[in-house]
């Protein structure tokens, strides 16, 4: 091949760099779902765990608008149970361990919501 001694190593280096995400992913340890600290005295959250895992930010978003703008501060869950709409006084009463509940999952997923710039984190955490 014409100029093969340059082209073939060049292709090898190019393919190596191009596939970097794939092989670096194979070499690094596999992502594991973080072990979260669940509230000891409560069996279930306001809605099923799968729904809460996927949609908790959506629920907080709607809660904020309903409470603040519509003046509706009672959430009737799909199982009929009624909850006060409040991040600090309802959510964090059970999930008092913010570091091992919110933060653990958010950190491992590289998301940094700024809830706690204003909202007061539970005392049990400090």
């Amino acid at each position: 091949m014409y100029n093969g001694k340059y082209i073939i190593p060049g292709i090898v280096i190019f393919v190596g760099l191009f596939t970097f995400p794939f092989w670096s992913n194979l070499l690094t340890p596999k992502y594991e779902r973080p072990q979260l600290a669940m509230p000891a005295d409560q069996k279930e959250c306001i809605e099923p765990a799968e729904y809460m895992r996927a949609e908790h930010m959506h629920i907080l978003d709607v809660w904020r608008d309903q409470a603040l703008r519509e003046g509706k501060r009672a959430y009737v869950a799909s199982n009929g149970k009624v909850w006060d709409i409040s991040l600090q006084n309802t959510c964090m009463k059970c999930h008092a361990n913010k570091a091992d509940f919110c933060d653990k999952c958010h950190n491992s997923n590289s998301v940094s919501p700024y809830c706690w710039d204003c909202h007061v984190a539970p005392r049990g955490n400090q």
């Binding site: 809605e47 729904y51 996927a54 949609e55 930010m57 959506h58 629920i59 709607v62 904020r64 309903q66 409470a67 603040l68 703008r69 519509e70 003046g71 509706k72 501060r73 009672a74 959430y75 009737v76 869950a77 799909s78 009624v82 006060d84 709409i85 600090q88 006084n89 700024y114 710039d117 204003c118 909202h119 007061v120 539970p122 005392r123």
Partner: protein, 259 residues
């Protein structure tokens, strides 16, 4: 059968289009959903009114301690920091007659009235200028007349501070938390870069409580429905001469002063 270049490109284009739309449809499916069967309702103990209003009986507020007790009650409940300079945050405060009732043209006012302190707070206007100027609808007027803020939406432009004729709004030039001694864990604080003001204790009305200043005033501040002739505010207004701040500008304040 051999494929021409033209046919190949057609099929490749269609396939790319199909792949693109299917992923877009997947994305549309992934939009957050409410839990089926869940509902939002007003709380059991919530206090309702057509138009919340306040009457401050200035004759009953004499000493500095009276004012301090009321201000302290409000500011501790709502995590209002005490910043000792021009960047202060105030939800409820005091000032003298000539800076409170600026429309009053009387030249020879009784010295007792002129020298007195008056309690000031957000007037929760019928026509709130702060709501008109807010570019993000962070400040809004509820159906019951209370003017409140959604701090999540405040971008800190301070138009509302320029719009408010009563100076009822304060801006957080820095993080307020270092200036808070004891944080009330039941209420949020604010962050750097948002405006804040009195909420008429809308969060306390939701759980059946009177505003913090009313509770701490020993009867000097009355609170109730302005549209209900039997409410304590309407009774007090019917029996006494009352004034409001800057009535000539047409904001229709919801805070009345008995002088």
């Amino acid at each position: 059968m051999s494929t021409t270049r033209r046919q190949f490109l057609k099929i490749a284009g269609l396939a790319a289009f199909g792949l693109g739309t299917s992923s877009a449809l997947d994305a549309a499916d992934a939009v957050a959903k409410d839990m089926p069967g869940a509902k939002y309702e007003v709380g059991e103990k919530h206090l309702a009114a057509k138009r919340w209003a306040m009457v401050i009986d200035t004759r009953k507020l004499e000493s500095r301690e009276d004012f301090e007790r009321i201000i302290h009650a409000c500011h501790t409940v709502h995590n209002v920091p005490s910043i000792p300079n021009k960047q202060e945050i105030k939800w409820i405060w005091t000032d003298k007659y000539d800076r409170v009732f600026t429309d009053d043209m009387s030249q020879h006012l009784s010295p007792a009235v002129r020298e007195k302190d008056y309690l000031l707070l957000c007037n929760h206007c019928e026509n709130p200028p702060c709501v008109r100027v807010c570019p993000t609808k962070a400040t809004f007027k509820r159906a019951d007349g209370i003017v409140v803020m959604d701090y999540h939406r405040c971008i800190g432009c301070r138009f509302c501070m320029a719009g408010c004729p009563y100076g009822a709004r304060s801006f957080n030039f820095g993080d307020p938390r270092p200036y808070l001694k004891d944080v009330n864990p039941a209420f949020p604080t604010r962050m750097r870069g948002v405006v804040e003001k009195c909420t008429f204790c809308s969060e306390r009305l939701e759980v059946g409580l009177q505003p913090a200043c009313v509770e701490a005033s020993n009867g000097a501040i009355l609170f109730g429905d302005l549209d209900d002739p039997n409410s304590p505010v309407r009774k007090a207004l019917a029996e006494n001469f009352s004034i409001r701040r800057k009535p000539s500008i047409g904001t229709q304040p919801g805070v009345y002063y008995i002088v």
